[in-house]
Symmetry: D2
Subunit: 401 residues, 4 copies
């Protein structure tokens, strides 16, 4: 178990940390202070020029696409520590072209895409010129059990016709979102893990109706958004199917391992940031004649947060190391373990930081409320806690058979 | 300890339950399904005609102002069970003219207001023609320790001049909000509990600048809103001071006991509603071949929720009974106990109901996300958990002196 | 919901509180300080003369058999508050002739016993001359599901023959234990709730082999003990069957409702005592220049303990009130609720009191370690938490059918 | 962060695992089944010949004294994984001559002992011929703040005279316990961390009165015992002082880092064993027609236990790695982190395993009750949770100065 990242990664660690702390956090503070509102009217969500400028800087400085091992040459263990740094601010991942779901979509195109698919979609994604969404979850069924998915893909000559409603398609509200990856039932009579396919869909294709962005506790996670979208007799060429009909589950599985490591390390970063804010507030605000940190069990909160952050970080690093050394099939339990442990711990620490800020912590004065929503949604997205606990239990019990 | 409500109250219980379930919940469902947005632009928040109509019905049917013992003839124990019913929907309290902070403000005017003050402000409030806000919390200081409050009230002849910034003034965004009750430092050299005063301020007074509504996790709790407001050299007649200069703390104290019982019983109602939604979802949605309720420890969640709801309800009823029998000074520990216990339990059960709904639970498809914000904010509003635990501990330790 | 105990009960409250605090607690302290050991060698467990003397006093003063409504004239609500007082010391229940399982056994004989049975067994039990045990749980099967019980009762003319091993028969080690109530399978082909019977067995009957007392975390709960006992071809007259063959479940059910209320109220008393000890220690012991209570979040522990004790007490009182007003069939959920909530809360508070005492808390210098064992065992005895949560969930879900 | 143990350690892992599982666990089972009692009468605690034989085997096979880097050549990281294996059974540590407090005492003698001290005491300890105790904690003061210690060491010519009562001296009841290390106040006017000294005392020295063994929840942890011992004018040569007068704290500090890693890794092993027993019981015992593991949220318990064990193990390994790479002064926070996290997690999992076993789990039929006591006592021994949380918080807050 060697979790030490490489010296190359160490260079990135220093540069990204500096980039986030010196360039992104000040912009974050400026943006929060402007109290601009991004409500349900997603079609009018503007791009922020400051962020666009930071993206160009990151790209120019080579802090770009580091998530993709084939480009960056970094191992999962290496990238994990970088993902943590991007978790310090919700603005950071996009700036480094490392935000979900684009990362997973790019990885998927890299691995399973045809040359034509790569040329048309992967290149502009890697350049950050366009963005993408992943359309899997459906409102009508418990998508935690993906064999429930009902949206359909029917071949009609050299086209496929897509039908069905999808939601929680993150990134769909972004002004630059051009590509949708649609997952649906194409081979209903095959084995249950061979029934689904993934299809590339240009967002401008007739029949694609974006119905709305979904709020999380009332906030829209702009400019990304979590979209609800109807596919109504959407026709695209068969050549848009990824890897061939019936391979949807296989491709989804490969996509989720590294993606969960990324999410979880970002949560570690978010938890670190929350602890930082908690301590700064606790030191600077006084009540009853003392700094808040000296009251009640607040120092114990700090201690418990430190312990728990250390533990979830180590667990994610171990998982990344397993992906590097034995691959996803040897890390199924660990991937599910981190998917349960990290959002729970991060949400609790963020919530405690909110409490330390008083009402301000719930408002948009600090990044905490949005961070809480991020941590909370990850108890559901990419599989709810319940499903992941089930995976961990079932891997454990297998040892006794 | 006789928590049984009176037979008069029992009549109200039946009628209010029916009113909420048959008339309010269907409107709530309709409103949620319309996905209308109430963003930061609070000046354009419309009144909903359906709710206005329901208010008229409630008024006509005598389900109106029941919170005020002097009008309704109900004890605190009696009203507590009604407050629980109003907690089933976030729309209900206003419809019965029983929502915070108007309830507290009316009570305060009833008890401490001069005849002129009553005529000008209490009557229209009781009729539901206007609404009000309570301006106490300040951004710059830890208002959990109210001796920190810095906003000033300076007498200038037969006027007082008010200065200072306030926030978390709930209800300030409502189109009908006309009255502000301002708390500030008027007698800075007096004993620390005799330094503050409360002043009635018409929202249209020059110098009152409403700066914005504060979001909670990004949502604005429209059409009420939590306002941030600047008082800049606001001049009002000395006659607008409530009960005389220096009585601010005394009045605030009397206001908070019943108000906390109301909040807490509404949370009991919210927890009941969340459990109901959790069970309905858990019975009707299937995954892995079974209703969700049959999976994992979900039945245990139901059992634990039932126990915890029973326990917090009983604790609030005991507190109400103490208010009825020995008054607020004999119920200080209990009032603080419920203020800690109820939001914690309600927030947990609502969160579990969200989890059972999957992503939908976080969206605006159900009342759960807004209920969560209500429960969460009550861990801070009217005194944070930390302060109330301190009260309970200090009352307990007094027994050993 | 009127939980107020009667004025008669109020008289007992005063006298019993005084009795416990002035006479029992000093003896408890003396006994603890003597460090006498009661190990596995149960046959040599002596009676303590001081306790015998206190029993005589309690009997003489009418503080005797108050658990039995038919004798004491007290309601369940009345007795509940007395049971709490007996929970302040593990020595108290026997002194008032109110300890399990004798209470349940006496109640059972009172309700279902024949005249001859009453004369032979109930009278000496009521006089405190003999003691008894209840032999239900079996080592070989999950007795949480009582339909699993395998010990057999076979009729042979005017006798029944009993076979099977029982354990966790509390009280079996007491020098005065004379009566065993044996539950076994008598009618294996009947409906599953009509297959079992209860039989009265003199402990001296041939074939009754007491194998040992079972330790709980290494302690023997002397002089009561939790016995393991083999019934090997034990012959007793058919007249020893209680209420007729096949009525075992029916009788067991009636026995458990009040018994659980007693256990739970004793736990409330134990939690109160633990909180008292926690506070006294926290005030008197110093570290780092301050009393322990002023360190860390220790005051928050006190506050949380106070809240939780209030809540479990109210829940038990409500359950007692339901037993009084609607009977056991209307209180099934509540009886199970308290059976889960009380041991959990009491065990946590006792554990915190132990922590406040440092290593001493784990030793036999204070009553805390033994109290912890009592609370812990009640998460299993009379049905494990899991079964009771199941009852609560299933009663809750019935509302939705 | 390279936690991988060496290939030499890997060889020990295999051999020790096999030794524990094939030779120690069967003896453990046999001993448990014999129900021999080791009560308060510690002077008659016998040695078990089977264990003595296993010790000889372990010694002969080189599985001996592996805790001491200077002998074994193992790093802390290497030994940590071995300590986990010794945690699988409470009998194992002594068999490998690796149990507390002898390990710490030997280490201390190795580092600070004079040649004469080493020859007299270290050699027989390393050979397992004698055993030792560490006499630090005092009944009269909160020893969590070691500056409170009051026992005295007064120089009198070429002797020192020791006075004071100590308790929780683990191992003092062992028939072979010969050496006591006494910590006391020798230089009361020096700086507060230079006031104490450690002195070697033969248990047979006049004035050493072993008063009793202290039970933990009623059990004596035989044949080790936790002793209470009076030092009454005990005279020993000055040459028995370790490292010179006034160095007590310095020596204690160095002693505790590795010792805590050992305790914590043993707890990881204990947690693994408890999970194993939980699963085996849950699979083999049926209720309501199903194996217990299929009921309620029992599979979730398994999943949570697996996650938590992984996390505490990684945290201990990181701490060991820090000890190896930067030494104790760079690992102060981590040493305190594991000291809080490991006993808490282990105690919870052991408690859940007890619950899965029903009443049997609390008895002496399984190793669980004794393991629970071990985990529970470690929330107090070597510094209570509260003190360690304080260390973690204070190291964290230092970053902000």
């Amino acid at each position: 178990m060697d979790f030490q990242h490489s010296t190359i990664a160490e260079g990135y660690v220093k540069r990204m940390t500096q980039f986030v702390r010196e360039r992104i956090l000040p912009v974050e503070e400026a943006i929060l202070s402007e109290k601009k509102e991004y409500g349900a009217d997603w079609k009018n969500w503007p791009l922020d020029e400051r962020l666009e400028a930071l993206k160009q800087q990151a790209k120019a400085e080579g802090l770009w696409n580091l998530f993709l091992p084939e480009i960056s040459g970094l191992s999962h263990t290496d990238y994990a520590v970088l993902a943590e740094i991007t978790g310090l601010s919700l603005l950071a991942p996009e700036i480094f072209n490392c935000n979900a779901p684009d990362t997973g979509n790019m990885e998927l195109l890299w691995k399973y895409g045809s040359e034509a698919q790569k040329q048309q979609w992967l290149e502009p994604l890697l350049e950050g010129r366009i963005r993408s969404a992943f359309c899997m979850t459906e409102p009508e069924v418990a998508s935690s059990d993906p064999t429930n998915l009902r949206a359909t893909i029917v071949q009609d000559g050299d086209h496929v016709v897509l039908n069905g409603r999808k939601w929680w398609s993150t990134g769909l509200g972004h002004p630059n979102c051009k590509l949708l990856i649609f997952m649906g039932l194409s081979n209903p009579t095959a084995h249950k893990y061979l029934q689904h396919s993934m299809v590339l869909v240009d967002v401008a294709t007739p029949g694609v109706h974006i119905e709305r962005m979904l709020p999380v506790f009332g906030a829209y996670d702009a400019p990304y958004g979590h979209g609800q979208v109807m596919f109504d007799q959407v026709r695209v060429p068969v050549a848009n199917v990824i890897g061939g009909l019936g391979r949807g589950f296989e491709i989804a599985q490969g996509r989720l391992g590294p993606g969960r490591v990324h999410h979880c390390m970002r949560l570690v970063g978010a938890a670190e940031r929350a602890l930082e804010l908690l301590i700064q507030r606790g030191k600077s605000r006084n009540a009853f004649g003392k700094p808040l940190l000296q009251l009640n069990g607040n120092r114990d909160l700090v201690a418990q947060a430190r312990m728990d952050i250390e533990m979830i970080r180590l667990l994610v690093l171990k998982t990344a190391w397993l992906l590097d050394t034995v691959g996803i099939m040897g890390a199924l339990s660990e991937v599910s373990q981190i998917k349960v442990a990290c959002p729970t711990v991060a949400a609790r620490i963020i919530d405690q930081a909110i409490q330390m800020h008083g009402g301000e912590g719930l408002s948009d004065n600090t990044p905490l409320a949005a961070m809480y929503a991020y941590a909370r949604i990850l108890r559901l997205a990419d599989g709810p806690d319940e499903v992941h606990r089930g995976v961990v239990a079932s891997r454990e019990l297998k040892k006794y058979e």
